[in-house]
């Protein structure tokens, strides 16, 4: 499941792209799994179809998904992160939740340590 928060500083398209990327990287969206159509996702999230189409395009350019005319948009194989990272990510998410951080605050925390 993905969520678009109108109150977020990130634009809706970026929120969609980031969450799908996270699901692909974590392996929750397995290789060759088909993503919903642009129209379905846009209608469920109450955003413009162009917003979802742009997010899918960005994911495609990043090599995470592929789009075929009949096959729709599918997850590319080999995009999940190596398994050793996931337990640490789970631990970080649990700690961030215990501390009452939002997803954005947790991301900022991670980003602040990224350059060290």
């Amino acid at each position: 499941m993905i969520t678009v928060d109108p109150g977020s500083a990130l634009p809706p398209g970026e929120q969609i792209r980031a969450q799908i990327e996270a699901l692909v990287r974590s392996g929750e969206l397995a290789a060759d799994v088909r993503l919903p159509s642009v129209r379905q996702l846009a209608s469920d999230l109450r955003v413009a179809a162009g917003t979802v189409a742009r997010a899918y395009k960005d994911l495609e350019q990043a090599g995470l998904v592929r789009t075929g005319r009949a096959a729709g948009t599918r997850v590319n194989p080999g995009q999940a992160l190596a398994a050793p990272v996931l337990p640490e990510a789970d631990a970080f998410v649990a700690a961030a939740r215990r501390a009452g951080l939002s997803l954005q605050e947790a991301q900022w925390t991670l980003a602040s340590r990224w350059g060290e």
């Binding site: 919903p36 379905q40 469920d44």
Partner: protein
Amino acid sequence: MAAAALLAVLVLLGWVGWLLARPLPRWSMLAGALPAEGPPAGAAGEALVAAERKRHLAAPLAAGAAGLACWWVQASVPRLVGLPVLIIPLVVWSVWAAVLALPGRPAAPEGGARSADLAVRSARTLGPAWALPLPAFLALLVAACTAVAGMVSGPDESGRLRHLEYAGRGYELDPTGTVVTEVLAGQGSAGPFPGWYYGVPVLVLLVAGCLAGLGAMARVASRPRPADTGLWPLDDVLRTLGAYVITTGSAALLSVQLGVLGLMAAIPLRSASMMDNLQIGDAWSGAATPQGPLAALALAVAGGSVLLVLAGAVLGGLALRGTAELLRPRRAARPAASGSAA
């Protein structure tokens, strides 16, 4: 041809039998999926159910009115020679599916976060595996049988292609009327037969019905998820029941239409088979009897058609049960369901 027609009907009957053995989506699923009473989820859930109820009430009413209008047109314009009555199943199907396909009122914009699951929803993912193949198979059968009947049809006395033409034989008899003295080759025709006069409207309505049916399934699939994720289980049940009703109802009406067309064709086929293959000098019995491959075909078509109408009635019963599940009022006071609104 008779064997192929019988085989197709037997395949269909096997399919219907298998369907009957499958459990029907029950209202208990719907009731169980409703959130605990009280706003906002309870009210939103009731609104979701009410919108579907309205649609599934309006569709059969509109379709019934269209069916009655066909009767009225036939009664008012007898020169149409049964065309409006013959196409009632397809008219009812087209109107019913078109009402179910009408777009819903757009949801009022609400603030707050919006969620979506990443499962693909389409006409093919809703309901069981037979959901689309069964009506598609029947629609193809209707189209194929109509085309074949049209190709062998001939004109009636007013030039409309609604008769079956066949090679006939006439006999000259001796003065006592008991021995054949001359065989006359000729052309006969019998009707009413589902030739192009009936076939063209049938094919046009078949296309309209297919488009409406696919539109109705697409609407069920593409309707946006409710904003409250607690309503998603209810949303899933409503979609499942909606798809079940549309596909079963479509199969029922197509099956009845095919059966009616078959029964209409069987009578002139039997007439065409009423020929004595007598030679000069043979005794004339005075009564022709059905014989030859046409007689077998007429019997097979009649038998298959009766079975198709019966299969349609069974499928129609299943569709009505599904509609009743949607329309049945919910038991008012359920004990507070733990976690159902989560």
